[in-house]
């Protein structure tokens, strides 16, 4: 809370807004966050169309994710992750649970069992992770377009490597090597 980053604020840095939401239950702050992230989350949810559901699911996903953000804002820890990363993980888990329900998969497992919240991690991780977060932003902006495109299909459109290959006509090996190149490049930068 006291830590006002000495570094230059990033344009995508919504951490202070999330902290205000957690501390003051500030609805105007929430509205700003909503207007920024809701379109992205809707687009993120559009792949649910292909999972035997309607486009309406994408809007339900927006609502679910944003409500969770409101309710769990106090769990957000800017030392561990950026606001976008935190919201991405919530959106991913919600989308997984949507697919599970839409396909009537009968199990007690939920997405939160599959992606455990990082709580028991090593003490040095968060500091390290914070530095990574800062650099990854720059790194992503520098990725060659064809690598960024493959990553977008995987992360946003929710396509597996082989589905990306089928959709683009690229050989699976090419898809894999683009992922590998992108990730290893990020690693050299962070």
């Amino acid at each position: 809370m006291h830590s006002d980053e000495s570094d230059k604020p990033r344009t995508d840095d919504w951490s202070p807004v999330l902290k205000i939401i957690a501390r003051d239950r500030d609805r105007q702050a929430f509205a700003r966050l909503f207007d920024h992230f809701a379109p992205k989350i809707k687009s993120y949810g559009m792949m649910l169309k292909s999972q035997h559901t309607s486009a309406q699911m994408a809007e339900e996903l927006v609502q679910d994710v944003m409500i969770k953000v409101w309710l769990k804002a106090h769990c957000f820890d800017s030392e561990k992750a950026s606001a976008s990363t935190w919201i991405f993980t919530i959106a991913r888990n919600c989308r997984t649970d949507f697919i599970r329900k839409a396909n009537r998969i009968n199990t007690s497992l939920t997405a939160d069992d599959l992606w455990p919240m990082a709580e028991e991690e090593e003490p040095f991780t968060s500091l390290h992770q914070r530095r990574i977060e800062k650099n990854i932003h720059t790194a992503v902006a520098q990725l060659p377009a064809e690598q960024a495109d493959v990553l977008k299909r995987i992360y946003i459109d929710g396509k597996s490597h082989s589905e990306v290959s089928a959709a683009t006509g690229l050989p699976l090996g090419t898809v894999k090597s683009r992922v590998r190149l992108a990730v290893s490049k990020l690693r050299t930068i962070v």
């Binding site: 995508d12 609805r27 509205a31 909503f34 207007d35 992205k40 809707k42 687009s43 993120y44 559009m46 809007e59 609502q63 409500i67 969770k68 409101w70 309710l71 992750a81 950026s82 976008s84 990363t85 919201i87 991405f88 993980t89 991913r92 997984t96 599970r100 998969i105 199990t107 007690s108 497992l109 939920t110 939160d112 069992d113 599959l114 455990p116 709580e119 991690e121 090593e122 991780t125 390290h128 992770q129 990574i132 977060e133 990854i136 992503v140 902006a141 520098q142 990725l143 377009a145 960024a148 990553l151 977008k152 995987i154 992360y155 929710g158 597996s160 490597h161 992922v179 590998r180 990730v183």
Partner: protein, 245 residues
């Protein structure tokens, strides 16, 4: 320290949320043992955060432009106001199952035995001893887990200490994570947390170490077919090899 890890593609698909739940469960189990991969997953999550953040903006020459709402991104006023209205019912919301499952992540499973990964605690609520084990021979038994996956068989396999499973090949891909004990095959010895993928056509002959039963989580895309004439036949040479290791 684990020696057998999921590769970067498995970890990326996991972080992106693209794996079937049963396979994601295997990665979750692995990273509960492996801090190295856990850190990689955190990086890959950050990458997801950046992809989301930069999603409708211009990335390095791609032709997606800002501020052009399409059907895919348009947020109607009714969705907006509906969501804000829900904030008034916070008490109601926190009572919903989706939310409570989050906060209950801290609850310790009432497992008496040594540390099963937490991701398995719902499927195995009272320890592996309480599961319904079915014998598949003198050394091997299996207990199915209810993940609801209709295309894959998700199960724990238990090899008795010193026991051999017999040579088998795989009609479909099999993912295995060692949970307790250890076993070896022609490629090496696998300790708790180790993650292996056997593709269709590959065969191996797992042998548990002498000191303890070995329990593995496994996800099979199609039934395994035993190739040896007698599956429970134990190769004496391999047995000596395991005992010596």
């Amino acid at each position: 320290m684990n020696h057998f890890h999921p590769d970067i593609h498995w970890l990326t698909e996991y972080a992106a949320g693209n794996l079937p739940m049963s396979q994601a469960l295997c990665i979750a189990a692995h990273i509960s043992f492996c801090s190295e991969c856990r850190q990689q997953v955190e990086q890959l999550n950050s990458l997801g955060g950046m992809m989301l953040a930069s999603h409708d903006t211009k990335i390095n020459g791609s032709d997606i432009t800002v501020d052009m709402p399409t059907a895919d991104t348009h947020i109607s006023e009714s969705l907006r106001s509906q969501t804000f209205n829900l904030l008034n019912n916070e008490d109601l919301l926190t009572g919903s199952p989706g939310i409570t499952s989050v906060s209950s992540a801290n609850d310790e499973p009432n497992n008496t035995e040594a540390a099963l990964p937490r991701c398995l605690s719902k499927l195995i609520p009272s320890g592996t001893d309480q599961l319904e084990w079915k014998s598949l021979g003198s050394a091997l038994s299996v207990a199915r887990l209810a993940t609801g996956d209709t295309q894959r068989e998700v199960a724990l396999h238990k090899i008795k200490a010193g026991g051999s499973v017999g040579n088998h090949d795989h009609k479909g891909r099999e993912v295995t994570v060692v949970l307790t004990g250890s076993f070896s095959d022609q490629h090496g010895q696998y300790l708790p947390g180790d993650f292996l993928v056997k593709d269709s056509g590959e065969s191996h002959r797992p042998i548990a170490s002498e000191d303890a039963d070995c329990i593995c989580l496994s996800v099979l895309e199609a039934p395994v077919k035993f190739t040896g004439p007698i599956a429970r036949l134990i190769n004496p040479f391999l047995r000596i090899h395991t005992a010596a290791s």
